[in-house]
Symmetry: C2
DNA sequence: TTAAAGGGTACTGATTTGGTCCGGATTGCC
DNA sequence: GGCAATCCGGACCAAATCAGTACCCTTTAA
């Protein structure tokens, strides 16, 4: 499976929890309590998100975090980039010559880039607001197959 | 970054090498020599691909592997599925209740599924033939500046 | 019958990741 | 204006996962 770091999953949980709260700043502790995640982990996630400008942090006694933008203006690709770094499927694009071994086959690098772009576009099309919206009854999903999500995941 | 296993990358290299050879069966050894990859690793990859029906294996003294289908009929999603298993970004869809912690936030699970479908569609749209085709207008930049590729990878 | 080649299993090492801790900075309160 | 409480920031450490390797068995053509 394509592994998306667990931290990224947690990040969506934390950000969703912030949307559901009031507009005031949220402390790492309060978010940890509400999500059930360990406090240091939440703190780490918030730090990464703030570094990439997705969060606005305020220090001091009455400090805390709050979303830098509206949930509709934040997409999944940005969250993944903040936690896991740039979205790329292979490290062949890193520029490391030794990793490839045979350069004659390396032109496929351009094709990997095309795949990366496609995946990135798919991730950018989903906003944080979409993730927060329950939408569980599947009213809008086109082909859905709701209860069979496990089956749907298999290729 | 979204980590795609290195084995999958190697699988594309090996399959590309098979296309470039003649129609006859390829042994794991010969493919290892041509790609520069370690022989046991190539053997492991070929075994996985054969198990999923992407390769046709022939045992015995003059045996070897050959593509089960035309390169146009094999897409990247199938290769990933053969090596890494089903394509899913999070293990929240696995059905493990303990992993989520708070069930009230779990409705986002349905949204992750939508993201998974989008990514899967992007991967299915690229065939092995596409990956083998150079399609590299700029053959110059074998190992160019790492800074360039890094910029291209950034969102 | 022999040799060559795929198929399977188990083990080891390394890389990545998740989790934890401590120091520095800021602000409200006395 | 000083103090103390609170919170952010970076660094460190342990565990899990994964890539890679090696060995042995089965199968099949020569």
């Amino acid at each position: 499976m394509i592994r998306l770091s667990k931290l990224t999953d947690y990040a969506v949980v934390v950000m969703t929890a912030m949307i559901q709260g009031d507009g005031g700043p949220h402390t790492a502790i309060s978010l940890a309590e509400r999500t059930g995640l360990p406090a240091p982990t939440v703190s780490k996630i918030l730090k990464l998100l703030a570094r990439d400008g997705l969060m606005a942090s305020h220090r001091g006694a009455t400090g805390g975090y709050r979303l830098a933008r509206a949930p509709e203006a934040i997409n999944v690709a940005q969250i993944i980039a903040a936690i896991d770094g740039p979205i790329a499927l292979t490290d062949c694009v890193e520029g490391a010559a030794g990793a490839c071994g045979v350069e004659s086959l390396c032109p496929r690098r351009g094709n990997w880039d095309r795949v990366n772009r496609a995946v990135r576009g798919a991730l950018e099309s989903v906003s944080l607001a979409d993730m927060a919206r329950p939408s569980f009854p599947d009213p809008v999903l086109p082909k859905a197959a709701p209860a069979l999500s496990a089956t749907a995941d298999a290729i």
